[in-house]
Every structure is written in structure tokens, then in C-alpha cells.
Symmetry: C2
Subunit: 286 residues, 2 copies
């Protein structure tokens, strides 16, 4: 039986088949704002984000908004982010809020409300989460996401060199921290996902990470999406997807930001950069 | 030579001597909003926060705003938070934004701008940070905080049971993750703090944590503040401050939320609850 595309994981899988696995970052760095002729203000990041969404419509299935670049302008920045998230969702684009939130109890519940509750001003399709307080502390949020047809991506192994000490630390039983995060998320998906569907709780694994070095478990089959930053500007290439992720490469969302955004500010040039990237790297229906 | 109270750490130390070590949480849970007769809206959390600030003025040196309870209302919630942070700082109260942010590079810089830049709409005196990507990934933010006379608190050991696996994992060299975070922050303070001053980068250590079990290093003298949630409603008592933190007890900010806030909504009752707590627990000038 083929499950209908109802879980967030299934929506991602369906998007891969028809519209490709490219995820464009909405990352309004100062340098990019300047290049696009925009001010470093809430108004500037608003125009920037809306233009990326306009270009992505029909050319890219997934966008990822980097929350910090909006948060720096306080409520005005969040107002801009609300408009951008809503415009993307209205255009049928899957929206990931890259917020890396992580806390406990009712505090964590409030973050889930912020990013995943239907009708919330900041409603996205998925949010990134940070597990320093334990994946267990995120369980209620993960369950809430599944119950709402939403998703989440839990940080597992990141590419920055400063991360290696903590993420390679050994938990009781011998696996690495990164490996234990991956195992906990995999177990959660196994428990909560209907047969034939993809799970809705993904992992963040940098595209330039050595998975063996980080102690990531030998995965067999893709059962949930993997959000992989590090392609494009940061140096990872399409080949790396196969090398790093093996059979799991089929589950990888290719997150790129500067390599696409540098083609702006014009909508058609941005859209062409997205198309080129997806076709030359064989990202659609592979 | 006695350094003048210029570092954030020195401001905390001076506040302990004259106004006590109590830090009241601005945590507008739904249940508290209901008890106070306020709506679960941006307007409700705004009134809640402003009332806590009004009660704290002259009765409590430090407040800690739990960002998630505002973020759930999007830009309107952040607008309320801006007003509350500004009112607290105008009243001479030291404001900690409990945001638990953590990322890398320019993304992390943007979070530093959001919470620590003078003149930012969300300007606080200090922000809490999460080190899953490594304390090294936070270094630029820590340096920025010091350069602006601001502070930060890095999550080290939290009280929730789900945290123990990750925080007790062993890094290369044998210390625990929590211990290595504490060591990195201590080294940072040693490097950046003038003689005679307290460092401005604190740790978050739950008041009900067993420090030996978490592998926290044997501290000798307090050199930077410690933010310790878990007092009051969560069960830790003043005696625990000595038992857990030893000589470091002198550096502990006693964070309480529900145990104080339950005395609301009236300003005088809230202020009395703060006074009572500080006097019965000997929190001023000890």
C-alpha cells in the first residue's frame, strides 16, 4: 500500500520526485543585502525574503528561513518573517524555520506553538531544534509536530570544526552524542510513522561531515528526510551526497544559500540559478 | 586594586551585595495568565511582564524573561517583550533574555546583535546560549558581549532528567560534556577579565543537579556568575545552594519563577513575595 502524502516526511518525498531536493536558504546577510541594493533594516530583509519566495515559486520545492537575520530587528523583523513564511506557504513551497530552538517543558511547548501551530503568526512546515537538553526534552514537541502534519529537524552532526568535541563525545553505552541523537530520532520515527510513509522528524547532518568519524549509525534505508547544509558556497558537491550518506542520499535535502542568492536580486536570474543547480546536479526525481 | 563595576559580572556582584541574588522569571504560562485574569494573547503577556517589572523595581535586582512565551505570539509577542525589556532596564533592573540561542558564524552574530547590541529593539543585559555546536562556535558572541559590557550564560548542566545522557557523555580527554563546557567558559573568562573583576560569561547549572555526577570541575573561587534555575517551585532550597555549589555558592543567581509569580497579580503582593524570599533565604549581602 502506498500511503497518501500526509506526513511531513511524505510531503518532502513527493517534492523530491516532482520538484527536486534543492532547499534555498533565506539568509539576508549584510553583504547580500548590500549586493541586492537593500538596506540593513527590517524593510530590507522583508523585500529580500519576498523576492526569494517569488523566484522559488515553481522552481524550488523547499525554502529555509534563517530566523536570526530577522530576529536582530526585533518585532519589526519578525513581522517581515511572518509575511515571508505566509507568502511561501501560499505559493505551495515547504517552509523550514531554521531557529535551532531547544528547551524543556512548557517553555519548549511555547516554541512548538510559535513555529508549528496552525494559524500561528510564524507558522512554518517544520522547525530546526537543538538537543543540548536531550532529545527526550523535545519529545512533546516532536509528538505535537506529527499530530499537526508538521515536521522538525534535530541537530545531529554539524560541519563547523568547533562542534566535533561535543558531538563525538561518548555517551554511556559507547555511541557518540551525534549517533545517539540520530538513534533517538530514528526510534521516534519508527514508533510514530505509518507503514509506507516517511517519518516527519529529520536530522541535520552537515554535508561536509565525515559520518564515520562522528559515529553516525550505519543507516539502511531512508525513512525520514535529512537536512544537509554545506552544499554550494561551503564546498560540498552533489557527489558528496552519495559518498557521505550512502543509501540515505535519497533522503537528503540539499540546502544551499549564498551560491543561489548571489545570482540575485532579479527574480528571473534567481529562478534560473535554482533551475540550473537542480538540473546540473540531477536533483529532480533521482 | 578594586576594579570599578564595569563588567557584566561586576554588575551582578554589586547587585548581590546591595539588592540580593534573587532573579525573578518573567514566564507567562497559560495557567499564570489565567490566575492573573489575563488573556492568552500578546496583550496578556505584555501586561503580565510589565507588572512583574513594576513589582520588581526596588525589590529585586535581576529579572529573566523566558522568550518562548512571547515568541509564540510572533511579532506582536516580540513587541510586548521589547516594551518589557526596556521598562526593566529603565528601572535599573538587570535583564537576562532566556533565549537559549546557539548557531555558527554570521547566523550567531545576528543573534548577538538581536539580544546584546546597544540600541537593538530586544536589547538585554545578557542572553542564555546553547552549546550543541561547541562553545568555540559561540566565541565571537562571547567576545562581542564583553566588548559591549554585556553578559551571556552558557548552558552547562540542566536539571531535567533527559539531559543527563548528553551532558555526562565523555569528550576526548575524559571530562564530561558539561565539565568541558564549564572549563571552556572558565578559560574564556580568565583570558578576558581584568584582575579583580568578575567575568561576564556565566554558566547555567540547575540547582537540583548533582555536580559530581555531571562531572563539573571542582571550582575554587567564584569568578563569574552562575545562573541556577530550579529554586522554589522546582524544589531546590537555599541550603542547596551551599551543598551543590560549595564556595561557588557566592556566585549563584537564584532564579525563581512560579513561586514568586503565584503571589500576583497585585504589585504589592508580588513585591512582598520577592522581599520575603530574599530575607528568609538570606539572599542579600551574604
Amino acid at each position: 500500500m502506498n500511503a497518501s502524502p500526509v506526513t511531513f516526511g511524505d510531503r518532502i518525498r513527493a517534492a523530491f520526485d516532482t520538484r527536486g531536493r534543492l532547499c534555498v536558504g533565506i539568509d539576508p546577510h549584510d553583504a547580500l543585502l548590500d549586493q541586492w541594493g537593500l538596506d540593513v533594516t527590517a524593510g530590507g530583509v522583508r523585500t529580500f525574503g519576498l523576492r526569494v519566495v517569488e523566484a522559488a515559486a515553481g522552481h524550488c520545492a523547499i525554502v529555509k528561513a534563517q530566523v536570526s537575520f530577522f530576529e536582530r530587528f526585533g518585532s519589526a523583523g519578525f513581522g517581515a518573517l511572518e509575511e515571508i513564511l505566509a507568502a511561501a506557504r501560499a505559493a505551495g513551497i515547504i517552509v523550514i524555520a531554521d531557529a535551532k530552538r531547544g528547551d524543556i517543558g512548557s517553555t519548549m511547548d511555547a516554541y512548538a506553538q510559535a513555529w508549528l501551530a496552525p494559524g500561528s503568526p510564524l507558522e512554518a512546515d517544520a522547525v530546526t531544534l537543538s538537543p543540548y537538553l536531550g532529545v527526550g526534552a523535545l519529545q512533546d514537541t516532536l509528538r505535537y509536530a506529527v499530530s499537526q502534519g508538521k515536521g522538525a529537524f534535530v541537530l545531529a552532526a554539524t560541519s563547523n570544526p568547533e562542534a566535533s568535541g561535543l558531538q563525538k563525545a561518548r555517551v554511556s553505552g559507547g555511541s557518540t552524542v551525534a549517533g545517539s541523537v540520530a538513534a533517538a530520532v530514528t526510534a521516534f520515527n519508527a514508533e510514530t510513522t505509518p507503514a509506507g510513509s516517511w517519518g516527519s522528524i529529520g536530522l541535520v547532518i552537515g554535508a561536509t561531515v565525515d559520518p564515520t568519524d562522528r559515529g553516525l549509525p550505519g543507516f539502511l534505508d531512508p525513512i525520514a528526510p535529512i537536512l544537509a547544509p554545506g552544499f554550494g558556497h561551503q564546498g560540498a558537491r552533489s557527489e558528496d551526497r552519495e559518498t557521505i550518506f550512502g543509501r540515505l542520499a535519497a533522503a537528503v535535502i540539499v540546502a544551499e544559500s549564498r551560491s543561489i542568492l548571489a545570482a540575485g536580486p532579479h527574480r528571473t536570474a534567481l529562478a534560473r540559478a535554482m533551475d540550473d543547480r537542480q538540473s546540473t546536479e540531477g536533483m529532480i526525481g533521482d
